[in-house]
């Protein structure tokens, strides 16, 4: 028998529980990515001489595989006395990796702000921090929200990589079920379906959000 429904029902609760870990990793990773990305983008504008360093750093992070970065953080950090558990290492690696992508999104958002806004802020003698907080960021963030949403979905789809350092998220749980029961069809397919469902739902949400934001800017 290729597909066993009773086995499916039996493993469903276990996988549902593991899905919570995947979602936790996604949310924590995205918080790091979104905030660190914003910091990188703001520092780049506020402190001109960092521009070159940050773009090389972003290029370095984006050009190397996330899996190797996860291994690097998980295996190399302890050598410097910084022992972290697998979940933290994975979340940090994913967060830093996507921070590089997010910082480019923010940068594009800041570039879209009209020069006159900066000049007006200078004319009003606002500090750099006030200019960012009250003028630039409120205008730059809304249009880039959908782009950030796309990276949230992309980041979510990378969480199975955490199974490589034995974090008990969806993929690792499915692998364990598979190796214990010698049935891979149901667990692997369920994991795939779960990701598909989440991606389709979030894609629809992002589209709706995009429409909402467009309506606001048009008005």
């Amino acid at each position: 028998m290729i597909w066993d429904w009773s086995f499916t029902l039996q493993i469903l609760p276990v996988l549902a529980h593991a899905a919570i870990i995947s979602i936790e990793a996604t949310l924590l990773g995205f918080v790091i990515a979104a905030s660190l990305g914003l910091v990188l983008a703001v520092v780049r504008i506020a402190v001109p001489w960092t521009g070159w360093t940050i773009s090389v750093l972003v290029e370095l992070i984006r050009s190397t595989p996330l899996l190797i970065q996860i291994f690097f953080i998980y295996f190399v950090f302890p050598k410097f006395g910084l022992v972290i558990d697998a979940f933290t290492a994975g979340v940090v690696a994913i967060g830093v990796h996507y921070a590089a992508y997010c910082s480019e999104v923010y940068r594009a958002g800041f570039d879209n702000i009209h020069r006159g806004q900066w000049e007006a802020a200078i004319a009003l003698n606002l500090s750099a921090w006030t200019t960012f907080r009250d003028i630039i960021i409120p205008q730059a963030i809304p249009p880039i929200v959908p782009a950030l949403g796309n990276y949230l979905v992309a980041l979510f789809k990378e969480t199975p990589l955490l199974s490589a350092i034995a974090v008990l998220e969806l993929m690792q749980t499915a692998k364990i079920i598979g190796s214990e029961t010698f049935r891979y069809t149901e667990p692997m397919t369920l994991v795939g379906l779960f990701f598909l469902a989440m991606s389709l739902v979030s894609a629809a949400l992002i589209r709706a959000l995009e429409r909402l934001l467009n309506r606001r800017t048009v008005r």
Binding site: S55, P65, I68, V76, K157, T189, G192, L196
Partner: protein
């Protein structure tokens, strides 16, 4: 980032690998890692070719195909973009044999990565074709060309230029995704790194070398795509200037 900066980064990366290789603790790992890198390159190249074929076919099917073909292409794109690359890799590796289809790990790797990136690529192809001005189609109609003639002679050559930068990004994504094949027992660069790490515990040199090697490979792709773009848009730029 300009092409000069990319070349400079590549030179620095290769120089650092070269300098590290002269040191006793690093020299030990280089031959094994290079061997792994060779498999990584093989998978990346064959996977990229498959991705291009799938991307173009799926895009054309979705835009101009008859209804059943259009649905099939849409299902393909949504499934491979919606599920995770690692899940696809494991599904082909572990589940397909239970349906009586056993593929070797190399074939699974190339298929999973090629199909995954191809699904993203089809959106790139679609976007590029749609970005060609409507007037170009109208001119083709005025010249009494068939739709396939217009596509082949007018639309695709122009869309091709618009496709180059996003495809470059996808090739880099594919190169990075090849690291996943180490998890289905292929002895690529990532696998060699883990293997050596487990036997020697020389974590820092091994992973530093590996990161630099992936970086160098990505930069080669970036630089290659920039050169291709420059070459492909040469006639166009000249036309615009005149």
């Amino acid at each position: 980032m300009g092409i000069r900066t990319l070349v400079a980064m590549l030179v620095v990366a290769l120089a650092v690998i070269g300098v590290l290789a002269t040191q006793a603790s690093y020299r030990l790992f280089l031959p094994g890692l290079l061997q792994g890198a060779l498999l990584t390159i093989e998978i990346a190249v064959i996977g990229s070719l498959l991705a291009i074929v799938m991307g173009v076919l799926a895009a054309l099917a979705r835009m101009y195909g008859p209804a059943p073909l259009r649905w099939l292409a849409t299902v393909y794109v949504e499934i491979f973009r919606g599920t995770s690359a690692l899940v696809q890799l494991f599904w082909l590796f572990f589940v397909l044999p239970q349906f009586g289809v056993t593929l070797n790990a190399f074939l699974v790797a190339v298929l999973a990565l090629g199909l995954n990136v191809g699904a993203y690529g089809s959106e790139v192809v679609r976007g590029a074709i749609q970005s060609v001005a409507r007037g170009q189609w109208e001119a083709g109609t005025a010249l009494n060309m068939s739709r396939s003639q217009m596509l082949r002679r007018i639309i695709l050559p122009q869309a091709f230029i618009a496709m180059i930068p996003p495809w470059g990004n996808l090739f880099i994504e594919l190169l990075k995704a090849t690291a996943l094949v180490s998890l289905i027992t292929l002895t690529d660069l990532a696998f060699k790194a883990q293997q050596m790490n487990q036997t020697t515990f020389k974590t820092i040199p091994i992973f530093t070398l590996v990161l630099l090697m992936y970086l160098a490979m990505s930069l080669v792709i970036s630089i290659g795509m920039r050169l291709l773009e420059r070459r492909a848009s040469l006639g166009l730029a000249r036309g615009r200037a005149a």
